[in-house]
Symmetry: C2
Subunit: 380 residues, 2 copies
């Protein structure tokens, strides 16, 4: 499955007869992989308690790293000096970075969940100093240093980081926003994306650049965004911006948005990969999904299985000699019982976090493998 | 090196011509290993952030688990039901358990360091309810349940846990103690050890039982302890009790104690394995050493190398592309640079703890391997 190529390419290998789902192949300078795929989140260039050697053995095709965090620590200059994110981190398989915008604006408006909860009244604007046409100025949470993020500095940083796929710099508008403000943010975000692409074209590398489709839950804005971005020479498109206040709104949005994107480019869904969302959005044609949920849930003792989630701290598993899931080939299922994993969590042993993360990541990889098989059989 | 045997045995393979150091071979139901050896501490049956698969790859011959902690969580009954500590934890190589006494008395008197600092005035007796000739009654820190630890219940619990080597139940007297109280504790601890051995003989398993040599820093008491314990049918001896207030006192104590122990049985030093202590005590004839220091130091970013310790959080390593130590075959040195490890610690990524632990444990294993070679060459 892994073949080394020098440039990014995407090929659709099979279109399902049952839905808009497809099996594709993405090639990058660090190997090829099949889609739809799950993208593990390694915010700081690491999957928390999991080593890249383990993640690669598990079969994780693509890892998502966050430019904002990497700019703050260790800094993109250090990563460049160390030979880029692959040599720096030791991961040999493909990596994707975001633009930093999402984190900067999350800090301004609070997390999506917080913002939804506060109906948009609560602002956490301390870290964001100024948003202008040029870009956004913010204060590093680490050392108070002022960082100026613009389309040019974001893509510049992503080039220094050196992931296989970059994402253009955009503005994340809050869910609760006046239509005038949304429209103004919408226009600016597309100007920023164009500038991202221009900077990329003027500073060529073998990296790919994805756009971010915006428009909130407004069908006309989403369609307009697709039109603007499809006409530009992006290597792929990511569906971002406000994805709605619940899964139903998101799925509805994807239903009217995805048909407006070109079929020959890969489509990524930003930050969503719970099993119900995968189930709903793979048939609509999404090719990749990132989420920190599987590893985060693992660290809280919530394990993914075909029979639903399993809370390993439950007393029910105290003397259960079975692996987390029969037939699973992850490091946890191959080496320890539910009983021992329960004990590790009860005794607050760090090993429990690694083993649980290994299982959940492996579960997602295996889940997507089965999804691809079903698409090839026209069952999805 | 690994051959499966059903019973415990110890064989001296070579005595150094330069010192009392020796290379030996200990055989257990879970394999054989060479001595002198470093024993990693897995208090709760796990080496904190390191999996048993990793520790075994690293070459860790023997792991120390703490009976006190295992009785409190998950309980020795659960471990027995799960098939014993090996099947429960997934470790396939030899394991040693202590008696639980050290922890119970540490809780009563405070840690050795605390007790030394307070000159014996500070007592933490809340958890210890009563010490009698029969044993010690204490309260579980976990659920407040009363646990009664006696020679019989300690060995009984260790049999249920099922480690390859057990340690007899003893009393740990504080360093600051009247000679009358020390003498009374001394007599009782040897009566407890005899009862431990009797219980073991009356409930035979293929486990070995080590004594604990007591006597503080009193040469006559140490010699008397050696005499009493050597006359009994223990499989090996552990030097315990108060080891003095510093390394010099400990080494002096070992100098007059070790010649009083039988040469044909293995000798363990309890809780001490810093490099300077190893350097001083291996030539005196110690065969095994346990310490939580290498893995604990690792989790605090202190890495062991032949050029001394390396504080990975130091800015000096921010852009250092070298591995922790050239030539080291540990997982950290084989997969990441000092620069990335520095970043992992700065970014508080859990992976840093595992990688650092892997290095320090590997360092100790390799250090002891070189020690054995030097003994075989009569250079130690």
């Amino acid at each position: 499955m892994t073949t080394l190529t020098n440039t990014f390419s995407f090929e659709v290998l099979h279109k399902s007869k049952k839905s808009k789902a497809r099996v594709g192949r993405i090639s990058t300078p660090h190997g090829s992989f099949l889609t739809p795929t799950f993208v593990g989140v390694g915010t700081n260039g690491a999957l928390k308690s999991l080593g890249h050697d383990e993640a690669e053995q598990t079969g994780l095709d693509l890892m998502f790293a966050n430019t904002y965090h990497l700019m703050v620590q260790p800094g993109e200059e250090t990563i460049e000096k160390m030979g880029g994110i692959h040599r720096f981190s030791g991961r040999t398989r493909p990596i994707i970075t975001d633009s930093g915008g999402f984190q900067v604006f999350s800090l301004a408006y609070g997390s999506v969940a917080q913002e939804l909860k506060s109906q948009g009244t609560k602002k956490h604007a301390n870290s964001v100093l100024k948003i202008t046409e040029e870009g956004v100025k913010f204060r590093s949470y680490r050392d108070g240093k002022t960082i100026y993020l613009t389309p040019e500095t974001s893509i510049g940083a992503q080039k220094k980081i050196g992931a296989d796929i970059m994402i253009s710099f955009d503005e994340l508008p809050p869910y609760h926003i006046s239509s005038k403000a949304l429209s103004s943010s919408f226009e600016r975000t597309h100007r920023w994306e164009k500038r991202s692409l221009e900077y990329h074209k003027n500073h060529p590398t073998d990296q790919a650049l994805f756009s971010v489709v915006h428009g909130g839950i407004d069908p006309n804005l989403r369609k307009k965004s697709c039109k603007i971005l499809s006409d530009l020479d992006f290597d792929g498109h990511a569906v971002g911006g406000s994805l709605g206040k619940n899964r139903e709104e998101m799925v509805e949005m994807l239903e009217y948005t995805l048909p407006c994107l070109p079929l020959e480019k890969p489509i990524h869904l930003l930050g969503i990969a719970d099993l119900l969302s995968l189930h709903s959005s793979i048939p609509l044609g999404i090719d990749s999904f990132d989420s920190s949920y599987p590893t985060k849930a693992a660290r809280h003792g919530t394990l993914l299985t075909d029979n639903g989630t399993l809370r390993i701290v439950s007393g029910a598993y105290k003397e259960d000699p079975r692996p987390i899931e029969e037939g699973c080939l992850c490091r946890a299922c191959q080496t320890v019982s539910r009983s021992f994993l329960h004990h590790l969590f009860k005794a607050h042993e760090l090993l429990g976090l690694s083993l649980a993360s290994s299982h959940n990541l492996h579960y997602m990889v295996r889940y997507m493998d089965r999804v691809r098989q079903k698409i090839l059989l026209d069952e999805i």
